[in-house]
Symmetry: C2
Subunit: 244 residues, 2 copies
DNA sequence: CGAACGTTTGAGCATTTTCAAAGGTGGTGG
DNA sequence: CCACCACCTTTGAAAATGCTCAAACGTTCG
């Protein structure tokens, strides 16, 4: 037990690497600059200027791209314990926007702090890069889902993936989890219309697989849902390849 | 002029960073272990064992995931000058498979060589990481395309993106380029059926925008196609953010 | 109370898929 | 050298999946 309560990020990384006292301390220090963002207010990040990354500690965020015709595609969601804009900081590249879903709390991480932390604790750096690589794998899986799964399986897979991610930071289980997304968010993430999302959710509910209602996802039949979605969490699990 | 003819990778990186003699030399050395792979023969990389990355020097490769139900989603194509399996090497992670499209030539890059090169020439490392980040941006754009563009715009955008990538390594222009892909490859990449791919191609051809025939893409009306696809190459261009 | 937002449902329509079949091409072995 | 086979392209017709338009209902918030 460190003096500071375990942050979601700490929980997540600890699931894959045993972190030393020193590493935990550095990690805790990275959480120093607490900031709050209000629901819906876009967090800049479209253009170049503010080069900051964040560690999300509570609330959800989505990263998305708007197309010239006004439609939106959500690329990824960030849940507590996830980094936000890590690539922007490391490579001064920023191609999408971020929207807080509900009010959120995040720790601002300055480039200099991050680089310093990397130098002090290379193993921590490795763990963070690994987390980034996991995010990339999720984007790939998302691509596969949109390209090759029908609407029902897409939704089922998506809800399962979110469940796994949340379970890792202690705010979800095989029973279900709280989920602040609207059906519009789901539509923009899954490449479907909001109307169709509604029908898909009804279908899954009536099949006795999952229920999404009043901000809560309930797995009515977890293993049945896993079968239906052909959900294979291998891409989320990749255990310990970084322990060189 | 170095004694060695400029490789596609050198061409690509040079478009973004002015490389020194020393850096060019290191880059040339990375191209030492030439290997050939035959068309269609899968390049392993599904499981864990062989931890090698490649620099593609001629021919095309696609990286894909197969789903339990047998359908395939192509995540990305690699063209000359692209890295292959870079992430697998750095993070011992490998989630998709590679298929050479036609016979290919690639330089095998051992983890040790790569790390050594990174230590010797940090600027080169930065350039390579930047290229990796660009690949990631392409995957994101691919996701957006599948999620939010209809079949015609999707195809148009895809052909334009490939054109830009090839132009950068000197084997394509606004006139067109040679393209070894079959309509099945296009289908698996764009998340459409092969039959529909054929109809879409006909439609684009009859609109006088692009022609894809006999292994060649011809831009019949480049700017018209750009308009139609709403193609904005910003995500490919990100010039020089890495020159700290 | 009204406004804004999110959910739910119906009906008709559009895009894309599936199934089926035919034609072209290149390579290989007899 | 020809025949055959595998692979790719092309087309039609029917079916399915998901979309758009439209409208109603519920909730929250000021």
């Amino acid at each position: 037990m460190t003096p500071v309560a375990a942050s979601p990020l700490t929980l997540k990384l600890s699931a894959f690497v045993a972190l030393s006292e020193a590493e935990l301390a550095v990690l805790a220090r990275l959480h120093g600059r607490r900031r709050t963002f209000a629901a819906g207010r876009d967090m800049g990040h479209q253009g170049q200027p503010d080069q900051a990354a964040y560690i999300l500690s509570s609330g959800w965020v989505c990263s998305y791209k708007i197309q010239p015709d006004g439609t939106r595609q959500i690329v990824d969601f960030q849940v507590p314990g996830d980094f936000l804009g890590l690539r922007s900081v490391l490579l001064r590249t920023s191609d999408h926007s971020f929207e807080p879903i509900g009010d959120i709390q995040a720790a601002e991480v300055l480039t200099s702090d991050l680089l310093e932390a990397f130098v002090q604790t290379p193993r921590l750096a490795m763990a963070i890069l690994w987390a980034a690589s996991r995010d990339e794998a999720m984007v790939v899986e998302h691509l596969v889902g949109i390209g090759r799964r029908d609407a029902d399986a897409r939704m089922a897979h998506f809800l399962l993936e979110l469940g796994s991610r949340l379970a890792l930071v202690g705010i979800g289980s095989k029973e279900g989890y709280d989920c602040p997304l609207t059906q519009y968010h789901l539509a923009d993430a899954l490449g479907l219309s909001a109307v169709h999302i509604n029908r898909v959710l009804r279908q899954l509910r009536e099949s006795g697989l999952v229920t999404f209602r009043d901000g809560r996802v309930t797995f009515d039949n977890y293993s049945g849902l896993v079968d239906f979605a052909e959900f294979d969490p291998a891409y989320l699990d990749q255990t310990g390849p970084l322990l060189k």
